[in-house]
């Protein structure tokens, strides 16, 4: 982009010269003038683009991530809503061509999930999904409701960038791991295929259950991966909260208890609170959340640009 910019600058100089030399030749002057206008406009556009490229990037943007949906207040209806969000995200991820694997889940008794964790891999996964982090609120008549009353329930989405031992160091002594084989005989004496791993991180109390793999070793590694992602997420959240406090209120990416969206069934609309905008519910439910995400990315860039120029002015 810089190269193109300097190219245009040279062209502009050339056009201005032409303008001078044109003298009394009106036709020439007009040509030169319109060329100048043209180049000026292109220069401005490029300037904007370069500014955005120079913005500080979120270091986690290129990473894959884990997506966790946790039913909040609302009992069965919250579980069902968590399941609905899962469906939406799966459609979006399929559209994006991302690889998705469910790592852990606790189904709700009447449907949906109390809690579900996905591993998502692909291009720009974190940079897009991070905008989904926060509390999602739904207002509708639940399937279980007999008198047609509207209920409000919530689900919390957490987006945790993938990380490794470079980002987060875990002391093996802090981990307590148990498996299905813990009781009774083991080894050659028993042939069981269930290799679920239950892991507790003693200092934080975080508990991870991993049942997905046939190989116990793989379950252990996956559980550790999840734990690292959660711990890394906690650290990121702390750091971001500090930054937010320093810069004053700003569009947040992951304030866990921030209510980011409300889904209203009666009015068929999704209200994205950070943008102050509404979107049609049906598109959202079909997995078309790209529009909302693009809007959030644009707004974030706008704010960062403004801050840059403010800081520049000081």
């Amino acid at each position: 982009s810089i190269r193109i910019y300097t190219q245009f600058e040279t062209e502009l100089v050339g056009a201005k010269e032409l303008f001078q030399e044109a003298g009394d030749d009106n036709e020439m002057r007009e040509m030169a003038r319109s060329e100048i206008k043209d180049i000026d406009a292109k220069l401005e556009e490029l300037e904007e683009r370069i500014k955005i490229l120079l913005l500080p990037k979120d270091p986690n943007d290129d990473r894959n991530c884990m997506l966790e949906i946790r039913a909040g207040t609302g009992g069965s209806e919250a579980n069902i809503f968590a399941g609905d969000l899962l469906d939406v995200y799966r459609k979006y991820m399929a559209d994006q061509g991302w690889q998705v694997a469910m790592i852990d889940s606790s189904p709700g008794d009447d449907g949906g999930y109390k809690n579900v964790v996905l591993e998502v891999k692909g291009d720009s996964v974190y940079s897009k999904l991070k905008w989904e982090a926060g509390v999602h609120r739904v207002q509708r008549v639940p399937a279980t409701e007999t008198q047609g009353r509207v209920h409000t329930s919530t689900a919390t989405v957490a987006i945790m960038p993938e990380c490794d031992e470079v980002d987060i160091k875990i002391d093996p002594k802090d981990i307590e791991m148990s498996t299905m084989r813990s009781g009774g005989a083991g080894g050659q004496n028993v042939n069981k295929v269930e290799t679920a791993v239950d892991l507790v991180h003693k200092p934080t109390g975080i508990r991870i259950k991993c049942t997905q793999e046939r190989s116990q070793l793989k379950n252990k590694e996956l559980a550790m991966k999840m734990l690292m992602a959660k711990l890394y997420d906690i650290e990121n959240e702390k750091r971001e909260a500090e930054e937010r406090a320093r810069r004053g209120d700003q569009i947040g990416t992951g304030g866990r208890s921030e209510k980011i969206r409300t889904y209203n069934w009666k009015d068929s609309r999704v209200s994205e609170h950070r943008l102050g905008q509404n979107y049609p519910l049906q598109s959202f439910l079909s997995g078309e959340i790209g529009q909302i995400i693009d809007g959030l990315i644009a707004k974030d860039q706008e704010m960062k640009l403004r801050q840059l120029s403010e800081e520049g002015a000081n």
Binding site: A101, S105, G111, T144, T179, Q188, N189, N191, L217
Partner: protein, 367 residues
């Protein structure tokens, strides 16, 4: 058994959906006290439906926990999971599933019914009876050996590959998992007394290791990484008084750097307590190690110095998975400096616990 067949044909009618098939068969297995009923129906139905190895059983696990979902999003197309849930079994699929369930209801191990399983990072290792189905503890044994291989490789000065001996290879799981991590650096020789085990190990090696072989003929190439041979621990010797037919064909270099084994180690008295899926299907010889469970382990110890003979002063270790009662016996018998340790030329180093906190692995050193 005709009774089981009748029951299944009745309970799992034609045109049943995937979700109902799961629910009904789960109830049947639970009522008959078949161990791991949920795992059983998930893996067997996935197999009958020919779903993906990686995802099939996970999708079915989700379907099993799906209740009648809320209809608030019925305007949208059904998700792939919901579609699969409502799919009806074809005649062939139903027939296949019922025969698989029949076998499971006789307590046949899932790995035998399906014919393969995952072990360590080997996806879809072939498993056939009566070879022992690899256990999760044994993955830890592999990790212990891999750690040593990694350490040795850092200072590896020999011009040859590192040589590893796997005694009692069964399906080939241990040796192949090790070779899979270091195919260029390691050469595994594996032994078993059952011809079927030798064949299966070589078959599995072909499946997982031929991708690393440099030669055009993959079989030749794999042999430079892994080769299983028919031989017992005691008969694995170049001493010409031995009568092993296989070894008389080619003398095997006895300069192994590491010996690993998951030998039969269950003491005789514990064989009675084994559940039917183990004792009725898996090889007795692969499980029972004699009265104290140490028979094969003793054979191994007696051959260790010969197997690891070399001019190098580097310590040679033997890693074994054992019964919980064994570490203290071995610690006493082969206590460093003791008469027996000096006579055998082998010392006890230490034991390691498995993830259940049981004394499960021992490390011996050829002195």
């Amino acid at each position: 058994s005709p009774v089981i067949n009748e029951l299944l044909l009745q309970q799992i009618p034609p045109k049943i959906t995937v979700q109902h098939a799961l629910q009904k068969s789960l109830k049947i297995l639970e009522e008959k006290s078949i161990p791991e009923p949920e795992e059983s129906v998930l893996h067997l139905l996935s197999h009958a439906l020919n779903l993906s190895w990686e995802n099939g059983y996970r999708q079915l696990r989700e379907i099993l926990s799906l209740s009648v979902r809320s209809s608030t999003i019925s305007e949208n197309a059904m998700s792939p999971i919901q579609q699969l849930s409502n799919q009806c079994l074809s005649k062939d699929e139903r027939d296949a599933y019922i025969s698989l369930l029949e076998r499971r209801m006789q307590h046949e191990p899932l790995q035998y019914i399906i014919g393969k399983w995952d072990f360590h990072f080997l996806t879809g290792l072939k498993i056939k009876k009566p070879m022992l189905c690899p256990r999760p503890e044994t993955e830890e044994l592999v990790e212990l050996v891999l750690a040593e291989v990694g350490n040795l490789l850092r200072d590896w000065k020999e011009k040859r590959k590192m040589r590893i001996l796997d005694v009692g290879c069964g399906t080939g799981a241990i040796g192949i998992a090790i070779a899979n991590k270091y195919p260029a650096a390691v050469q595994v020789v594996a032994l078993d007394v059952l011809p079927e085990a030798v064949d299966l190990s070589n078959e599995n090696a072909e499946q997982f290791l031929s991708r690393y072989s440099a030669h055009g003929d993959s079989k030749l190439g794999v042999k430079s990484i892994y080769e299983a041979m028919l031989c017992s621990a005691t008969h694995f010797t170049n001493n010409t008084t031995n009568t092993s037919r296989d070894l008389s064909k080619k003398k095997c270099k006895m300069n192994f750097d590491i010996v690993v084994s998951n030998p039969p180690y269950i003491p005789l008295k514990d064989m009675i307590d084994l559940s039917s899926d183990v004792v009725e299907y898996e090889s007795y010889e692969a499980l029972c190690g004699g009265v104290d469970g140490l028979n094969v382990i003793r054979d191994i110890v007696h051959r260790l110095p010969e197997w690891t003979f070399s001019s190098s002063s580097r310590a040679k270790h033997c890693w074994m998975e054992v019964d919980e009662s064994h570490p203290r016996h071995l610690a006493r018998w082969l206590s460093p400096g003791s008469v027996e340790a000096r006579r055998c030329g082998v010392e006890y180093v230490e034991s390691y616990t498995d993830f259940c906190g049981r004394d499960r692995f021992v490390k011996l050193r050829v002195s």
